[in-house]
Amino acid sequence: MEFFFDLVTNGLLVGLTYALVALGFVLIYKATSVINFAQGDLVMFAGYAAAVMLGMRGMPVWLMALVLAVGMVVLGFVIERGILRPLVGQPVIAVIMVTIGLSFVLQGLVAILWGASTRDLPLPVRMEPYILGPVFLSPINLVAAVIAIVFLIAFGLFFTRSRLGVAMRAVADDQQAAMVIGIKVPRVFALSWAIAGLAAAAGGVIWGNMLGVDTFLALVGLKVFPVVILGGLDSIAGAIIGGLILGAVESLAAGYLDPYVGGGTKDFIPYVLMILVLFVRPYGFFGHETIERV
C-alpha cells in the first residue's frame, strides 16, 4: 500500500508537468483548430535555450527565465505569422504536416546551433528527496508542480477574467461569430501561439532539468497526445485532469508491470489507454462534442 501511495503521488506530480505541456497544445487547438505536432519540439528548443543561457558565466536564473519567456513568446508569434497563417483554410492534413515540418526544422536547428550532446540544466534546487512517511518526493518534482500549478491558475484567471482571454474563448467557440462582433481573429491566433510558446518555456526548463537536455526531450511532446485525448482536445480543465490521470497511470504501470515485461511499459500504457478512450468516449472527458451537419 505504501508503495502504491508513493507511486501515485509521484505520478501525479509528473502528471502536472505533462499538463503544463498539454496546456500549450490545447490552447492552440482551442483557438485555431491546429494540432501542433511541434509542441514537444518547442519544449526541447526552450530547454536547449535555457541550458545554453545557464552555461554562460554569471547568468542568474531569473534573467534566464525572463529572456527565455520573452524569446519563446516571440518565437510563437513568428511561427504563427510565417507558417500557420498562409495555411488558413487548407485541409487538416496540410496543417498537421506543416507542424511536423516545423518539428524537423526545430530539431535540426537546435542540433546545428548547439550540438546534439546532452547538456545539464542545473536549477538551484536540492537533490535529496523529502521523505514524508512512506512517500519520497524529489524536490524538482515539487518545484515543477508548483510552477505548473501557478501557470495553470494564471491561465485559468486569464481566460475567465481578462478581456483578451474572453476574446480567445469566443474565437475558439465560433470564429465567424467572433469576427462579427469585432474580435480581431488573427491577433487571437498569434496570441495563442505566443502563450503556447510560454507554456513550452516552462515545460522546457522543468523537463530539461529532470531528463537532461538533448533532442530526445522532444519526445515529451508525444506524451501530450494521450493527455489531451483523455481530457478532450479543447478543454483546459481536461488537459490538467488528463495530465494527472496519465501521470498516475504511467507511474503505477511502471511500478507494477515493469518487473513482468522487462521495462518500458511507460511508453506503452498511455497509448493503449488512449486508444481505449477513443473507442469509448472519442471526445474525451471534457471535450466538446461537435454535431455535424451537411
Partner: protein, 360 residues
Amino acid sequence: MINREAGVFHTSYESDMALYALPLAKITAWGMVALLVLLPLPLSLLQNEHLMSIVNTIALAAIGAIGLNILVGYTGQISIGQGAFMMVGGYTAAILSTRYGMPFWVGILAGGAMSALVGVLFGIPSLRIKGLYLAIATLAAQLIMEWTINHVTWISGGAQSSIYVQNPTVFGWELDNEFRRYYLILVFFLLAYFAAQNLVRSRVGRAFIAIRDRDIAAEIIGVNIFKYKLLAFAVSSFYAGVAGALWTYYLRIANYENFTLVVSIEYLAMIIIGGLGSVLGAVLGAIFIKLFPIALDLTVIGISEGIFGVRYGAVADFLANFQLFVFGALIIVFLIAEPEGLARMWENVKRYFRLWPFSY
C-alpha cells in the same frame, strides 16, 4: 506539331471513365513500362549497383506511398502509422520464410494480408472519430506496434529485434544482386500502380472520394461509410504490408528500425509533396523524398570539400542535422507554395506545353 488536339471529346460513358483519356496516354504509359524494364541495362553496363539500389529504394517507397495515398489522399483518413503497417508485413514475411520455410511470394502476400488485418483493427476507431483525432489514434497505433514488436520476443526473434532472411529464389534464380532484385520489386510496383489507378476510378474509388469530400453527405446518398472506411484502411495497409515484406526480402533482414515513426512521417511527406489524391503524385513524391537527401549530401560534401577543404568525416554530424532541417523546411515551403504538390506542377507543365506556341 502540326496536328494538334482541340480538346478531349467523349461520346460514351465508357470512354469518359477510361484509364487513358487519349491514345497518346496509353502509348506513354507502355513506353514508361518499357523504359522501367530496360532501366537496369545501362546501369549494369556501368556495373553501378549503387545507382540501382537507389532506384530500388524509390520503387519500394513508391508502393508504400501509393497505399498511403489511397487512405489519406483519396479517402481523407489521416494516418501516421504507415511505417507500423509496413513493419507488420515485414515481420510476417520474415517469420514465414525463416521459421516455416515458405517461398517469398507467400511471404509477401501473407505480409500484405496480415497488415491489412491489423490495419482494419486500427481503422475501427475511424468510424467514430475523424480528422485530428484519427491522426492521433494512428500515431498511437504506430507507437503501440513498435513497442509490441520490440517486446514480444516470439515476433522479433530476440536479439536487436531483427530476423535475417535468405535471398528469395525465382525459378531457380537467386535474387542475389541489385539488378535481379529490381525486377522483383518492379513487378510489384507496376501491379501496385495500375491496381491503384484502376481502383480509384471504380465504384469503390468514387465512394472513397465521396467520403473524403463530405462523409455525412456520402452516407446520405447511400455510401456505406462503415464498409468503405475499413476497406480503405485494409487496402492501404495491404500495400504497406507488401512494401514492408519486399523491404525485408530486399534488405534480407526484418528490423523495426526501418519502420519507425520517422518513416511514417516520411511517407506522409511523400504524398503531400507529391500530391494528395494522385497515384502519380505518390510516385513523384517517393522519388523526390528519396533523392533529395542524396542530392543534399552530395552538394554539402562538394561545397565543404571543394571550397573549405573539409573532409567528409568532419561534416557528417552537421550533415545529418542539416538534412533534417532542410527536410522540415522543404515540407513547410511546399505546403505554403504548392499545396497540391508535384502532381499538380506536372499537370501545369503538361498543360502549358500541350498548347505551347499558341497558348492563348
